[in-house]
Amino acid sequence: MTSKPNSNALKVFPRRHLLTCEGLSANEINFVLDLADKAADHIRQNGKKRDVLDGRTLINLFFESSTRTQASFEMAGKRLGADVMNMNVATSSVTKGETLVDTAVTLNAMRPDIIVVRHHAAGAVELLSQKVDCSVINAGDGAHQHPTQALLDALTIRRAKGRVAGLTVAICGDILHSRVARSNINVLNALGAQVRLVAPSTLLPSSPERLGTEVYTDMWKGIDGVDVVMMLRLQRERMDASYVPSSREFFHFFGLDHEKLARAKPDALVMHPGPMNRGVEIASTVADHSRSVIREQVEMGVAVRMAVLEALSAHLPSFKDVA
């Protein structure tokens, strides 16, 4: 009834969960990106539905609100034929005091095939994965990791530039609180890109240079000659804690405007994981500029999530085994 599991995945992508980008090899990443490339072409056609996950159940378990990531996973799951269930955690037993582990055990008893989890605490998804029998995909845990975002960013770059290796990518803004930055550092380094971090010292994690990056606290220097400028969302709630004095000052020194963008290569890509604060970390005209690939990132998000689901599904027990 279902199409055959991707047999390459068993060899090239020997993982049951996708929890972090740390330790992903270039081979593994490229395998997912190749699958995603095909998925991207496929979803541009009219007949979008495939049957890779036919009869499988995917649960979106979001402890933190999200629009685009949750929708993206839901769409990816449905396009592959899965039954997708969105758990609205705000109205669930979690608010009645249930612990994360109990929630995991309860869900596990319902025998889903894949759970996609977002949680505000770093390490929560890993903890949950230890308590369930199905595959777990990390859709963002605290300031730790957001693997599918980094993979979709890599795919976007690869499609626009033809390669990732040898490119210089500046990740700019609130690095300290960003799971996107951490995942991107891992993926881009694995693929052979040079990564720069550009942020005020107050928004850098400690020992940033130990993460395999160059560090700049002056944005004009930081994006000088780069191939890709990847902006991060400034988490406005951080301003109260005196990480940065005001959005005005932040935009002046660390926001991407045309003047600063002129320092990057003429064909540099502008990226943003969204949601954007226009006029805080990115000027509206830059966000809508021809060099901006922000909309492509969203499109590639669905493709990459289809690829990840497909790669992981190869490791799911077949229906025959269960019977």
């Binding site: 010292s201 107050t202 606290t217 804690a241 005196s242 990480y243 004095p245 005001s246 005005r248 000052e249």
Partner: protein, 448 residues
């Protein structure tokens, strides 16, 4: 209309007559110069100086005979409180600049403790415009490092520095929240901005009114312990070590604090410190019968601490002397000691009081002047504070031996809260020159 026809015409620079100061004792701590000579000023700039100008005036130049007195770089006072904006009845930028001119001070750095607090770009601009239009001397402003000086939210350090804020201070209060202080130092470092901090743990000093110790016990006044100062300073030094931010302890007052600064300097940390003229020349005994003009912050300490400050200055461990000029009027000073405001005016007596240390043989004249000229200039990134060809002609001419008695009613400051009223001084300012223009000239004995 053709484009070529229109052009911007800059205001032509006035090529005024040159002025030559002859027969001077040229004293410049920056270059270790101390020799008889002369100095030529053209267009507000030092055009030439040296022994060859001692007697020879270039033709056409206005000649000022210094009669062998000391010609030194104009003093730079890195901590001046005024009342503008908000408390103009105490002091304005104009009256403070008049006091400065009379004291041989050619540059003042005003503090952000005003109403409103100088914590926004528009207020830095306000100070600069008011100073440009009204002040006789150069005025720079420090901006607040936290909004409203509340110690909670960092100000726009990047934009404020760009607008002209010369350094960042929390005024008369300390930032208690360690995380905020860490973030300020860390963030300021990215802009190479100097953080100047008053170090005092407010919980420890509590409602204290004077130095904690025997005198406070006898007077029945709540004390302020020295360690309230030292603990905060030690914490700050740790944060400097962590963040690499440039840090200046505004005014230290005891041996223990000096030891902390010395240890930080030995570690090559970007740490410097200042001391107020009050803590170099006065001690807690001067308070006598509850004299509120001696109530300052940090409080006057014991004689041993004063001696330690003088020693630190002589050794070069203390970088900067400030007047900590703080005008207060009767409504804030004529109160029971514990309720009276802190602060003393000091611009006009700064040099004379500092000369006490020279006359007593504790500090050499160049070492004392260094802490009032080139050291603050370097700390604040100013190009003044030196006698050198091409430098701005900010000068003070003084007679280190001239005796006089301070009369508070003759002070130019709008407030008269000097701790030196009726004090005998030796040494006074004869002439003050700002950018080549004489802004003060001593005309002999002054009368009420």
């Amino acid at each position: 209309m053709s484009k070529a026809a229109s052009k911007i015409i800059e205001k032509p620079k006035s090529a005024g007559p040159a002025t030559v100061f002859i027969n001077a004792r040229l004293l410049d701590p920056a270059s270790s110069r101390d020799e008889p000579g002369g100095l030529l000023v053209k267009d507000g700039i030092i055009a030439d100086l040296g022994s060859h100008l001692r007697r020879n005036a270039p033709e056409g130049a206005t000649v000022i005979d210094c009669k062998g007195h000391v010609l030194a770089p104009g003093l730079i006072d890195a901590q001046v409180f005024t009342g503008e904006p908000g408390y103009e009845h105490r002091e304005t930028l104009k009256t403070a600049s008049h006091a400065a001119a009379a004291g041989g001070v050619t540059t003042i750095v005003v503090m952000p403790d005003t109403n409103p607090v100088i914590d926004q770009v528009s207020l830095v601009d306000f100070i600069q415009r008011r100073a440009r239009d009204n002040a006789l001397v150069h005025v720079h402003t420090m901006a607040a490092m936290t909004k409203g000086l509340k110690g909670e939210e960092m100000t726009e350090i990047g934009l404020l520095k760009r607008a002209g804020a010369i350094a960042f201070s929390n005024g008369k209060s300390s930032v208690v929240n360690t995380r905020v202080m860490r973030n300020v130092l860390s963030y300021a470092k990215d802009f190479n901005a100097l953080v100047v901090h008053h170090t005092e743990d407010p919980y420890l000093s509590g409602s204290g009114a004077m130095n904690s110790g025997e005198v406070a016990s006898r007077l029945g006044l709540p004390g302020i312990s020295k360690i309230a100062e030292t603990i905060t300073l030690e914490r700050d030094v740790r944060l400097v070590e962590m963040t690499g931010g440039r840090y200046h302890a505004a005014t230290i007052s005891c041996q223990e604090s000096l030891d902390v600064v010395k240890a930080a300097k030995a570690k090559k940390l970007p740490v410097t410190c200042g001391v107020s003229i009050n803590h170099l020349t006065l001690n807690e005994n001067d308070i006598g019968p509850y004299r509120t003009f001696f109530k300052v912050r940090p409080p006057l300490r014991r004689e041993e601490d004063r001696a330690a400050m003088v020693q630190g200055l002589a050794n070069g461990d203390i970088d900067v002397i400030v007047s900590s000029h703080d005008p207060q009027d009767a409504d804030t000073k004529r109160r029971p000691f514990a309720e009276a405001a802190d602060g003393a005016v000091g611009l006009e007596t700064l040099l004379s009081a500092a000369l006490r240390l020279v006359h007593s043989g504790d500090v050499t004249l160049p070492a004392m002047l260094k802490a009032l000229t080139i050291n603050p200039a370097r700390l604040l990134g100013l190009h003044s504070g030196r006698l050198a060809k091409g430098a701005i002609a900010d000068l003070v001419l003084f007679d280190p031996g001239e005796p006089w008695v301070v009369n508070k009613d003759l002070l130019r400051s709008r407030s008269k809260n000097t701790p030196f009223d009726e004090a005998k001084m030796q040494g006074r300012v004869l002439r003050t020159v700002v950018a080549g223009e004489t802004v003060y000239e001593y005309a002999g004995v002054e009368r009420t």
